[in-house]
Amino acid sequence: MSADTIHPEPGETRRDFLYLTAAAMGVVGTGVTLWPFIDSMNPAADTLALSTVEVDLAPVEVGQAITVTWRGKPVFIRHRTAEEIDAADKVEVAALRDPETDAMRVKKAEWLVMIGICTHLGCVPLGQKKGENKGEFGGWFCPCHGSQYDTSGRIRKGPAPKNLEVPKYEFLSDTHIRIG
């Protein structure tokens, strides 16, 4: 700084306050300006609009399963038979790799809703369609590395660490769910 400006005087505190305020406003202004740019990278309104999907369950008969797409991912919805529900309840939970009771994974026992992505390395397991390999436990079988899920979608055999994920969903009526 040139010699002209460096001389102490009583007004210095006021001057410093001015500089401090200016600097603070500059920083705040820059931050407030930058935030919208970062926020523009968040999902846009049309993407958010597709963040929930409603499914009509009425056409799905007992023993039948459908796959819907939600947020770009497959969602398995199986209308379970009494035997399948029974088999799921009888399993010893403590011995499971990822211990969860069947009740923790469903809202209504006959409807099982899960994200159809194997928790090992992301393949889509088989078992939705008639005639597909359902594995030893009557649920789903992942052909990539042999993970096997039971009638509650829990991992029983193979390399996957966790049960098939249950997404957030709610029953809008007895036959209507909204996923997401």
Binding site: G29, A45, D46, L50
Partner: protein
Amino acid sequence: MKRVSGLLLATCLAFSGPVFAADVSGKASAAGEQSIAADAAPAGEAPAAGGEESTLQAGASESAAEGDVPAAVESPAASHEAGGHVPAMKWSFDGPFGTYDRASLQRGFQVYTQVCSACHSMNRLSYRNLTALGYSEAEVKAIAASHNVQDGPNDEGEMFDRPGLPSDHFVSPFPNVKAAAAANNGAAPPDLSLMAKARHGGASYIYGILTGYAEPPAGQTLLPGQHWNAVMPGNVIAMPQPIQDGQVAYEDGSPQTVDQYAKDVAAFLTWAAEPHMEDRKRTGLKALIFLLVFSGIMYGVKKKIWRDIHH
């Protein structure tokens, strides 16, 4: 230097002055005739008056393709300002503090749905956008579901129809532009999503068009499919008067007149073109106030720092 420029100017004027003077005054009346001729076939919403307009357009686009910069003679530009007079209107959304009148927007949407959507698409809008008008989620769902949307292919490989969802875009009355044109005398009714920004005068222009229908003045004959409109540039429009008094039943007791319908539709279309206008003005005000204060402070800082420098 003055001598050089003076002599040059004098020489040029001596040669050309009288000649130009004669030519320019002669041209004035010719220019007048020219613009009237151009008025009859504007490159706008008038239908093809036989093959004449398409030739005019082809001529214009051809010359543009050859790289000639458009000149007065070739383009129908003379009609651009002639004939149309946008009425001076006051809108609730005018000015830096203007906002939309949601009741008016809802009425405008109602008029669009019941009258305009028969011919005009608004395919940049989605049904979920209507929550901004004050409709609830359930109402928006119902509005969307009242339209059929084509979806597919299904597992059989076929396209199918299903009720609309809020995430769907507004359903178009025609599958594509050519179908729209074919059903409307060769002139496709334009999409209205951006109409308030795509025309000089915006909402006032739209209001003017809808209320500007009248009989043509004496001596001007219209071809079949043409209508006379005070606001349309060139005064000739392909769209017949779209709405009459009492055509749409308003539930809030607003007057069911063409004047009111036009105001509501114009407001609705302005919102459709600029749904974020209120956000924009609010953010702008905040930014401006911040900058005002910050400028004041920076001015103080500058003054303080420079105080002891002679400059």
